[in-house]
């Protein structure tokens, strides 16, 4: 049993009908707890006319209302800082995290308790173990360890598994490459973009990472982890196998991972989540093979009950039999394929154009602007704000640009923005439904 390729053989190979039954039991527990402990959820369920005792099996899922990040943010705005979503007292929390908000300056804030953090790590363990990582591995994290939840859970997962963890915190890229090389890391965790950046730095330093100790890469934060051409490039530059994973601040952890068989998609962790794929317009469930919006219900996060949360991610579900690994868990073919809304993913950070606009519009010296994304050196996503300077503000431009750069970074998880001036009347104007994004990146996630 201890040599099992599965982290939890009992549920990873559960027949589908038993898996549905288990999800139904856990759904009933979730709704009961949410209704009794979270005022936000109780209000939501009451409005939908659903009482806890109405939910007894998986089939009752469709009676539950959808939720979304915007509504969550609204509740935090009404009752700052955490809204009334929490199902436990904030005093039970042991950590605060945040991610970029979908509008304006306010971030989405989350709290987690002791058991939550153990569960967050647990879900990552499914992914690490499923990709062949074991206690003997030395796992390097290219991660800043800030308020963005990112790889925090992955860090704890690998500690729990008994791996040697190599954190890199605020190190430079050069220092990170040296650490990977010096301590002979066998696994590297990074965004796809940064995995390529590290490889590029290795070449500059004369360190041949492709011939080195790293055998596996765990990718997260961007769709490129499942885009075949990008993935092949990463694997070639590292001489290692790469696995895609995906999570979000709303769940605190990953909900899917690519197994060692590398089926070209990510298994859904179906004993801890229910993942639906819906038509984003009608809200109706779509079939296997059809593209739709991912909706997630999470069983394990005690502080934050997550019920039918519309993620805005575009996915295509495939049956478990698509993969030869023996898991009975369905997959997302090609991982996350894009967005329903206008959210941009830039080096693992969520950027909402309307939130950027809200900040830019606070600067009277900016007359018109455009969000421009491009790929630098063929590998690195960059974001710049092109600004037409309002007449009369020309001599203040350098100061405005510096403040705007800092402001945008502070409200987008520290992401580096470039701010450049554009010639007067050179940027397009929009009367309505402004689309001020120009995306020239090699990989945008939409396929």
């Amino acid at each position: 049993m201890r040599d099992s390729p599965y982290w939890n053989p009992k549920t990873e190979t559960l027949p589908r009908e038993d898996l549905r039954a288990l999800q139904g039991i856990r759904l009933a527990r979730l709704v009961d707890r949410a209704w009794h402990r979270s005022p936000y959820c109780r209000h939501l369920l009451d409005e939908a006319g659903v009482a806890p005792e109405d939910v007894r099996s998986f089939d009752d899922l469709r009676r539950l209302p959808f939720t979304a990040r915007d509504e969550w943010m609204d509740c935090q705005a009404e009752k700052p800082p955490y809204g009334d979503l929490l199902a436990q007292s904030p005093e039970d929390a042991i950590r605060y995290h945040a991610t970029s908000g979908s509008a304006g300056r306010t971030p989405l804030r989350v709290l987690d308790g002791r058991a939550d953090w153990k569960w967050i790590a647990e879900c990552w363990c499914y992914g690490f173990h499923g990709f062949g990582i074991r206690a003997r591995d030395r796992v390097f994290f290219a991660f800043s360890y800030g308020t963005f939840i990112g790889f925090w859970g992955a860090h704890y997962a690998t500690e729990k598994m008994g791996c040697l963890v190599l954190p890199s915190g605020n190190m430079s890229t050069s220092q990170r490459v040296h650490l990977i090389d010096d301590l002979e890391a066998t696994v590297v965790c990074a965004t796809p973009t940064y995995a390529l950046r590290l490889a590029q730095e290795g070449v500059s330093l004369g360190i041949d990472l492709a011939a080195g100790s790293v055998k596996r890469l765990i990718l997260s934060g961007e769709p490129a982890g499942s885009i075949p051409t990008r993935k092949r490039l990463i694997e070639k530059q590292w001489g290692a196998k790469a696995a895609d994973t995906a999570g979000m601040t709303e769940t605190g952890t990953i909900t899917m991972f690519e197994c060692e068989h590398q089926p070209g998609g990510t298994h859904i962790i179906e004993d801890h989540f229910i993942e639906e794929v819906i038509d984003p317009v009608t809200g109706e469930t779509v079939d296997y093979g059809e593209r739709g919006e991912r909706v997630v219900t999470s069983f394990g996060r005690g502080m934050i009950p997550l019920i039918r949360c519309r993620t805005g991610d575009l996915v295509v579900k495939a049956p478990a039999s698509t993969c030869s690994c023996g898991r009975t868990w369905d997959l997302y073919d090609g991982g996350i394929r894009g967005r329903v809304d206008d959210m941009l993913l830039v080096r693992g950070t969520n950027v909402y154009p309307r939130a950027v606009e809200a900040i830019v519009r606070e600067y009277p010296g900016v007359d018109e602007f455009q969000i421009h994304l491009y790929t630098a050196d063929g590998i690195r996503d960059e974001i710049e704000i092109l600004c037409e300077v309002r007449p009369g503000y020309e001599d203040q431009w350098e100061n405005i640009a510096r403040r705007l750069r800092d402001d945008l970074s502070a409200h987008n998880e520290g992401l580096g923005f470039d701010v450049q001036s554009a010639d007067p009347r050179s940027l397009p104007r929009f009367e309505t439904n402004a689309k001020r994004v120009k995306d020239d990146r090699v990989v945008k996630g939409d396929r």
């Binding site: 939890n8 009992k10 549920t11 038993d18 288990l22 707890r33 002791r114 058991a115 569960w119």
Partner: protein
């Protein structure tokens, strides 16, 4: 908190293995300790242990309880 699984069965109605039975016994023993008047060092250790062990009893579908920490 909802009811634990039926005696000797997991949430899906399967008989517990010997190892699962022992795990569940440790879980019940640990959670019972949370009600005791423990010194801070022991209380924090038990809370950590409960949070950790819940992952096992939950993963194996041995209990429908939510972790009491």
């Amino acid at each position: 908190m909802t009811a634990p699984s039926a005696e000797g069965k997991d949430l899906l109605g399967n008989d517990l293995t010997a190892e699962e039975t022992r795990l569940l016994a440790v879980w019940e023993s640990l959670t019972a300790l949370l009600g005791d008047d423990l010194p801070p060092s022991a209380r924090a250790a038990v809370q950590e242990a409960v949070a950790a062990l819940w992952q096992a009893v939950n993963d194996l579908a041995l209990t429908d309880e939510c972790p009491p920490v």
